[in-house]
Symmetry: C5
Subunit: 371 residues, 5 copies
């Protein structure tokens, strides 16, 4: 049994009737760590810190570079607001960054675009946990916000530093795509894990079915429900990006986004089949329980049907009807069998005959073959 499952209680930061644009962060938000990567076709410069100064310095130092401002941890309202002022970002966007239980979405504003994704993880307990990734793309700048300090984008940083491919030259829109693609790749990893768990479950079904199968199926089903809830709006978001008319999403980036779109559809297809297979596993398990019950009942019935009549016969001849009355006169008809010659072996033979006939009947009806 799993008592550590992911609790449902919808995390709703912010209060009813709050002004739209009010920044209410989750209570456990981490302190931001900022790294700024400034790059062009020739070089990558980076510096890190924890306040807005590091961004301003880097802007001054590399005025003609593309800047990727990577922020891990969103627990500093002032920083977010200062960034908002610096780049003239709508307060609704800042609110969406702070409220980490958003649906993936893509919004266009004057001169910049905003997108969020959900980063998912599949832990040992077959629980999916998710955190928010948010990105603002404006001019030559992309600012990304992650909820925690996980190093999931190290591969992108490596590629950026290696300088191969379009990553250095295709602008901040491409960087936005590259990061989202990394997140979607992670979905495949989670799906592979779920697929493996489902394989294990099916093996157990055929080898040693016990009731934990039901719990584990429900668990996987829940993970798949979550998976679908994440991948469906992700697809919508990428579609919105493809159809966007913003100059920040260049045709080249759109070509790549179409690829990511196909990946999302593929993820949804696989998620749906897995859900159907999980349902199948549960149905199969329940039919096994029914069959098991049938077999148990057959054992009980066979044993009862055989021994009840025999016990009754033994009971008959265990009755104490008296041969003689108080005066020693024989009472007529009172269990003369008990005084017959060979009566006992005949009685036992009759019992064996009865049992034999019943066994033959059950065999004929196929009760001993498996239903």
């Amino acid at each position: 049994m799993n008592t550590n499952r992911h609790h449902l209680k919808a995390k709703f930061t912010g209060k009813v009737g709050d002004m739209p644009g009010t920044l209410t962060f989750p209570d456990d938000a981490l302190k931001p760590k900022i790294v700024v990567y400034s790059y062009n076709a020739d070089e990558v410069q980076s510096s890190s810190g924890s306040d807005i100064e590091v961004i301003l310095k880097q802007f001054k130092k590399c005025p003609k570079h593309t800047h990727w401002i990577k922020i891990n941890g969103i627990g500093d309202a002032q920083l977010i607001e200062k960034i908002g002022e610096l780049l003239n970002i709508n307060v609704l966007v800042l609110e969406d960054i702070a409220n980490t239980h958003q649906r993936p979405k893509f919004d266009e504003y004057d001169g910049y675009v905003f997108a969020t994704s959900r980063i998912i993880e599949f832990d040992d307990k077959h629980e999916i946990t998710s955190s928010q990734f948010a990105a603002i793309v404006k001019d030559d700048i992309i600012i990304t916000f992650e909820e925690n300090y996980e190093k999931r984008f190290d591969v992108v940083v490596t590629r950026l530093k290696a300088g191969k491919g379009a990553i250095r030259t295709a602008g901040p829109g491409y960087m936005c795509y590259a990061l989202m693609d990394t997140i979607i790749d992670q979905y495949f990893v989670v799906l592979a894990d779920i697929g493996e768990a489902l394989d294990t479950l099916e093996d157990r079904l055929y080898e040693k079915a016990d009731k934990s199968i039901m719990y584990d199926s429900q668990h996987l089903k829940r993970a798949l429900i979550m998976m679908r809830r994440v991948s469906w709006p992700e697809r919508d978001k990428i579609n919105d990006m493809i159809r966007s008319e913003s100059a920040l999403i260049t045709p080249e980036v759109k070509t790549y986004l179409r690829d990511a779109y196909d990946h999302c559809i593929h993820i949804m297809d696989v998620t749906d089949s897995y859900k159907e297979i999980t349902t199948s596993v549960m149905d199969l398990y329940l039919s096994m329980v029914s069959n098991r019950m049938n077999e148990i009942m057959k054992v009980l019935t066979i044993i009862s049907v055989i021994f009840m009549p025999l016990t009754f016969i033994a009971g008959i001849y265990g009755m104490n009807f008296q041969r003689q009355d108080d005066k020693g006169h024989v009472i007529p008809d009172n269990m003369p069998e008990l005084y017959m010659h060979h009566a006992y072996p005949v009685c036992v033979a009759i019992m064996i005959l009865i049992a034999g006939v019943q066994l033959w009947y059950f065999t004929k009806k196929g009760w001993f073959s498996k239903l």
Copy 2:
């Protein structure tokens, strides 16, 4: 068991064939309380009362302000009709205000727009109750109708008086949005409550499953059905507002409405997952009932299979076949075992052997492990 559940009987105020536009109020409609807030960027003035005079006075007093006429309780047909005349409102709109079991909707008329929402509450019995919110927006005026005196918009009033943000300057369309957003925020609160109830239910499933789980699941499912019935048309309504070409819904307000639209979609997503999880909980409970039955039957079968043959053997040797006939002659073959030396311990040993073989067989078949 819950005998206080929300009754279904569709509340249909009005009679078959009534002229469209006939004002038929619910029997228990409350007497209206009117508060008029007149505001501009600089100040907020308010006055309250219970008839149309308070509105007229306020109009005269603040001719250049934006007016929010907040009416709690709709049980005064004359008032509604007078307001209708004053602002030249179509009788169908007035009918929709009176008929409090409307689907959320948005209608555009010449010079004004009309929208309704459903305000929901989730009480201690896990029942969702809903009441109607209606708003007419015309020129610089917004008139809102609530069915009861709940102070759910106090936060908006506070924000209005505080004067921060767009609320003072963005016109009555923004006010309409702000109120609807407050209503939608409430949906999240209800969803969080349902999520928590579902968590509790799952905990009980793993810890101490009893048949109240089935009742409670059904209860939650019903709440979620209701939730969906409310959020789906809410989304449609907001979409209609976004696509509206009325000048009363300014582009700025539309930006905010898009945010509300995303919230609605999010609510529907979560509602759907919760419904699937509720179904899972019920399936799991039913499989537990089946398993439980299997275990009960196994206990019964094991005990029957062990004791029936033993009881039969005891019955055999309880038979009264006589050793001697009336004349004292030995009757041949009649239960010689009874006169054998050590026959009793041998018989008991055979019984123990039979029981032992059966226990070994059941163990081998795995009946003592849990299915």
Copy 3:
């Protein structure tokens, strides 16, 4: 049990391969009764009869009025054909009037429009029966056909005579709307009845569940299937009317139709939730049956597990192993317990102990608490 349920056999009047436009009436079609209402803003004149003469006379008498020709009963092919000729109506339309098992629809023809609705009734046996309403609107004329003599439109006649509202002045399109609206209002009444039946059913589920619940749920479900089958195309039809470009459906009428459209959607929403709730009731009932079975089995198992070993022990000491052989010599080891001092109370004590241990075990396992 309900043996009076509505039979399914699709009523298909007409024969395979019949020429389109062949008028084949139901066998039990009633003889037509005609009433003609001629009205303008000032007055309403009416006359009634059973043949086309009454119509022609009225036309002559009130050449500038709007005419509502109300025909109850369609069992007169000649009359229908004459009306067809008089107003130059397509034979397909006449066929649709005759074939009373149509889907609601709206068709536009040159100079006139044709619409049908389904009138429904919910009888005491929780059966929905439906009949057809058909209307032709042309110039200043509306001709309506009902299958039976029910006075369901009396309220409209009353409104017409009272002369309030748009009914006198908004033309035959408005009259068509008013009649359809009355029909749709009836749907709400039926839904309210179904809702009430569903409430009763749920009460019975919690108070005294017996197997009639299953029958009654199926019954309601069937009524809801029927309800949906009627309301879905009704909505489509009204949508067609709203989008119609015919001059007969004026913008004013369209405003009202939008209201009717909302009503249809609302009916469909409610129907769907009721269907889900009906399914819930059945699921809950079936889980109650399962639980009940579990409880029955627990009783059986507890009683068997307690008494089988005890009966076996009694059987042991009921065996007749002899203390002495024929010659009176003591046979060794043959049931010495029977001759021990206090053996009987000890035996009974052991039995009580065994029963006690088992009861303690069952209590610990929670078999006496409800599952």
Copy 4:
């Protein structure tokens, strides 16, 4: 049980990788019978034969007539190819005529159109069988292909000869519609048969439920699955025809097609409701099986609970604890009840009391009322 059911094995004539346009006929295709009807507003001439000559002759004889070439049986590849050459038909069309397991479809080609329908039959075993109808319409010619010699279009021939209505004058497009309409009319007949079978099934459910209900429901469900599989693409096809811009489908014919379209939708509606009702019947039957099981178990449990304790008590007093030891000394406490006065009637009275208390308890718990 039904062992004659329609086998599923998808009939796929043609081999993998065959050139598109290869004519591969079903093995059991019948030899063609050709009848040519040449008609105009004034007269109908017909001649029949089995090769292309009959067509050519008729063309020569009636150069200004409309020709309906009716071919029953498609088992002559040469004939089909010759017709293809004569009218210059694409080889894909000929392939579609030969492959009789097509989905209904409508294709437009240069100067001609091609459409197929599925003709269905519902036999005594509640099996739906289907065959293909194909029609090519070009200029003044319509060629129709049927798989067998069934006289299902005799009604159309009769109408053609009678010369009533549009059939003589509205061109080959109308003839195409008339034939399809006859096929769709047949769907209603099949639906009526299914509806009747479903009625019978429900009657049996309420009167004498046995397990054949399950088989028969599955059977009907399968027929409805087939029905839906046929009517869905039929609707699509007719929709394609309505939206076609080909001059062969005249506006007049489109009016009639809209009627056929409504019929298709109606068929799909009814099919869906019937499917839901069939599912209901199965659910109801299964709940009856569960209830029946409950009742059986109650009988078993009541009888066991009553007789087990009684049998145990009888067993107690059937034990042979001895009153006296070998030497005739009374052994203390060994079953003194057996020697008490009136012990036997007291014992029987106690037994009756126990049985009575249990019966009272079961009555109170409602076990004797139906669950």
Copy 5:
């Protein structure tokens, strides 16, 4: 039981965060075998090899022919990259060729188009396995990639060499269609196999139902889930091709593609019906298990209800209440029946009567007829 089933673990070649366009092949990719067919209306020349030289030579040798470069096995990154350079193919396309777990898709690029299909196989164990087919069409060249060496396109090669039909003259777009059509034809073969397996399953259901039916149904269901997952995107892909504006997909090819599109829809229709029928089979099997249980329980109950009272009566008269006390005095009322004349036959007669009454009762209640 089937332990060889197709494992789910989503095969995801490539690593999270890899640069888009990175070629990561499956570990078990086969070494490529290349055959180049160069053809025009007059002749077909072919040569084969394993590196790019064979392609270059053939290009030089037949500069005006159409080239079909058929590559079986994709386990040579360099080869793929060289081909990419040679024809100037986007690296995303090359990545899609390498990643063999793609969804079928069609992408247009500058001057060339790219399409993938899934080739499926249905093995003896009722497992569907799939491999990827990829094709690039550019100018007069079509390059196709298959994962393994299966000779599934031999029929197309034969047709190409035979030179009949459009295959020689209609360009590389037609060749692309011809290959895809061959793949889709294979789907029909698989569906026919599944249909046959389903027929066999149904036969077994009616003849000899055992629990393997459940396993086999699940197996088929899974195959159908897979089938749908393949055919759905295949249809989308072909639709994309039909709507493509690329000059490489000529109108003539589009005519053929429409035919393939119809085939896909047909496959999806059949797949869906098969899934519904598979579900039916499982439902029917489960209802048979329930009925079987009912019959087992009836046997048990009948036997218990008959023998328990009889055994009890025998037990009564097996009690040892003594006729005489220690002193030989008669103890009043102690089992006088035992000393009555003819008591034993009366007792047996009563037993027979009881059994008879019960059998009559069970017969009347219909327990001996099948439920």
